[in-house]
Symmetry: C2
Subunit: 462 residues, 2 copies
């Protein structure tokens, strides 16, 4: 399929006055880059290398530091310019022992894992009665007297969705549950993992006790274990659990963002940011979260770099540090680079095929959106929102009004693996990974060369 | 479909002289029992109850003793006769801590679990170089000098098969690998789990060091971890692993077989044995291995018991103890009941649908085989071997020449779960479980009432 440049003639009257020569990219060349990317091996090479040679990369850890060295070396070898690390300090929480068992009425072990920033039990654990709730709302509605001194259990079950929207809704049990339980005087909280699988691999994830709220032990049961506990509670006898969690805060450590560039011809036009995160949770090797993201954006940027024509705008690849535990990398980056960008995008939702293309750009850039839609359609990508797009690390930048593009990966099986020990290389489908690279290559080739203002767009309302 | 009784006229000349009135069962009644069993809830109830109220049931443990009490109570409540426990003593091996990590060149933790009868490391572990082999044969071919003092790694990968035959072939790495490695002076052995999944749930299982061979630490890596170790080894640098396994032998403890009967009209005709095993590995809750087996055979026997007609032969349900660690229950049972049986069968391969019906019966019983084939076909079951059938606990009895029937479950996904933490209730498909009950009900109704000699059959050659 040949798709030619958008022209004023193709535009609705509303935009036409603002659009002179809209683009400098050559659609035929973009298509060629796109189709060649379907044979990409660079994204796999980065994913395989990072997960194998570093493995888990917890924020602020020596492993994350090794990963930064690995990234700098890899990005230089790939031919990028201005490869550098921007460091920052952050508080580090470290997992300890984690064990749980039903003491009565049916003694047996349960599999769980501490949530980020969980409080600790004594070394030999706590033993308390379990009180079960079907949802966070039920916990919120409970009286303090019912909850006090007990181990709260929230069993709300997440359902898979293609766009990942289940995470926002069901994730409340993890994000707010510990604070709600602590305020009511609970001894601890265990939640059903925020996930969609049925394996005995619990899903960790960050939570943060609200200011002034005392940290309590907070953990996620593997889903089979949560269902087991539900069945046991349904028998109607008092259920006693012994819980041992010994995480600790180990003070301030260094993390950092690794940055590399494909220099553009006109620095004044602002940077196209292609972001991912380098850190991972400690349980798996961070394959889909987010080694693949770094593989995808880097492979795509390299394809544009190697495509023959120096792009109009600089493409900046950012492998952020310390995303998982509170977006520390993204926040540090925003502080240092609030004004650099023409348009930003991030890959942090696995590597299953991209199915939808969302954007939040100025009205003058809509022809580019339509062009991009047409160039992405052969990859099986549909047009989505034109008034909303975001990301995790780039979330604060995006919310501040920086034009944003979002290439949505299929999230149907993402939460089977997310934040579990099971997030390992074998879960990555090389063919779907290549489709991601092709979509990103297309997007970067167009946005780095389009002669258009992507912004301003309105900042999100607070 | 109406299937009438086999008659002499339907038989090949070879058998006709030996077949008077072949059967006393009423095929229409059997069909009615069979079809009613497709709505069975008893097998689920047993499976759910045992896995929830007892959970893991390691051989010789207090949990297995609680499970026997649970079984006796349940079998009495279901209306069985002669409910009893036949106890026996057995040596007990108990899992301890189990941890592994790559120390160099790429430090990271690996997930593994000790194999049954594994030796122990010191409490603070051992650290040694890893030597990798693609198969047990490659390990066997290695020189002692290459292996001595190292941690042996065997990476042979199992493939799924419907009939489970991959287990015999690929299982050698687990069964013989530790002995072979110890003989060559290895410090320890870790194998790729004998399984077909890609989750970070290692597959345990029994192995036994040959007489005179010193026990060494022996463990199975989860499959993603085994593939990770392979990738690391392929980098070509020396790989050092720290391994901590602290299992121990805790002496002789009691186990037992729980037995219950549906009394027949003519005790002289011998017993139809419907077997399963009550114990499980410690990592999961033993749902598919083998709570479902006990659910299936018990639900089927109950259906025949409640069908209105007292069967000709006694049906004996046996929930064996201590199967997983060396068939102790089956061996004790054989010692006490060598001559009781007309025909024997066992359910110990999960609860996915039965797809094939195998038998090893006397020539005079072949019309019954054909009748049974026709009665099972509407359940989607095909005719298999007529000269081979066995089971695990009943293996020694079967090998000694006792007529045997085998209703083969589909094993395609069995080894995704087998001996892992993931063997939990949620893996059981209630509809396929019911098909199992229907097949077993059919088989028990026919064999308990068929007026035929099932044996003698030849003993297996040693």
């Amino acid at each position: 399929m040949k798709k030619h440049l958008a022209t004023a003639a193709a535009l609705p009257f509303l935009f036409s006055a603002a659009v002179p020569a809209l683009a400098q990219y050559d659609a035929a060349k973009v298509e060629k880059l796109r189709d060649a990317a379907l044979k990409d091996d660079v994204a796999w090479d980065i994913t395989e290398g990072l997960t194998t040679e570093i493995g888990p990369r917890p924020a602020g850890s020596p492993a994350e530091a090794r990963a930064r060295d690995w990234a700098v070396s890899k990005l230089k070898k790939l031919g990028f310019s201005n490869v550098r690390v921007e460091t920052f300090d952050m508080p580090v929480w470290e997992r300890g022992e984690e064990r749980a068992e039903i003491v009565a009425p049916f003694p047996q072990k349960l599999v769980l894992t501490a949530l980020g920033n969980s409080g600790a039990t004594p070394m030999d654990g706590i033993t308390a009665e379990v009180i079960g709730f079907d949802s966070l709302a039920d916990l919120e509605a409970a009286s303090d007297a019912d909850v006090r001194g007990k181990i709260v259990f929230v069993s709300h079950g997440m359902v898979p969705t293609q766009d990942g929207s289940g995470y926002g809704y069901f994730g409340g049990a993890r994000r707010q549950g510990p604070t709600v339980a602590s305020r009511k005087g609970a001894a601890a909280i265990v939640i059903r993992s925020i996930g969609t699988d049925h394996h005995r691999n619990p899903h960790t994830g960050v939570q943060r006790f609200a200011d002034g709220v005392a940290p309590i032990p907070a953990a996620a049961l593997a889903i089979p274990d949560a269902e087991q506990l539900q069945r046991i509670l349904k028998r109607g006898k008092p259920v006693t659990m012994k819980l041992t969690l010994t995480p600790r805060d180990i003070g301030t450590h260094q993390s950092g963002n690794v940055i590399a560039e494909v220099p553009g011809r006109d620095p004044k036009l602002g940077v196209v940011l292609a972001a991912c995160h380098l850190d991972s949770w400690d349980l798996g090797t961070g394959a889909i979260d987010d080694a693949t993201g770094c593989g995808i954006v880097t492979a795509a940027a390299k394809r544009v770099m190697d495509g023959g024509d120096k792009p109009l705008r600089t493409i900046r690849v950012a492998w952020f540090g310390a995303e998982e535990v509170g977006l520390f990398g993204g926040i540090d980056y925003l502080r240092k680079h609030p004004k650099d960008h023409a348009v930003i995008a991030e890959s942090d939702f696995g590597a299953d095929r991209i199915w939808r293309f969302d954007s939040k750009l100025n009205a003058t850039a809509q022809p580019i959106v339509r062009d991009l839609g047409a160039l992405l359609a052969p990859l099986g990508i549909t047009q989505g929102f034109t008034d909303r797009a975001s990301g995790s690390d780039i979330g604060p930048l995006s919310a501040s009004g920086v034009p944003t593009i979002e290439l949505q990966q299929d999230g149907t099986r993402y939460f089977d693996l997310h934040h579990t020990p099971d997030d390992t290389l074998d879960k990555v489908d090389p063919e779907q990974l290549r489709q991601n690279v092709a979509a990103w290559t297309t997007m970067l080739a167009v946005t780095a060369n389009a002669k258009v203002e992507f912004g301003p767009v309105a900042a999100d309302q607070q």
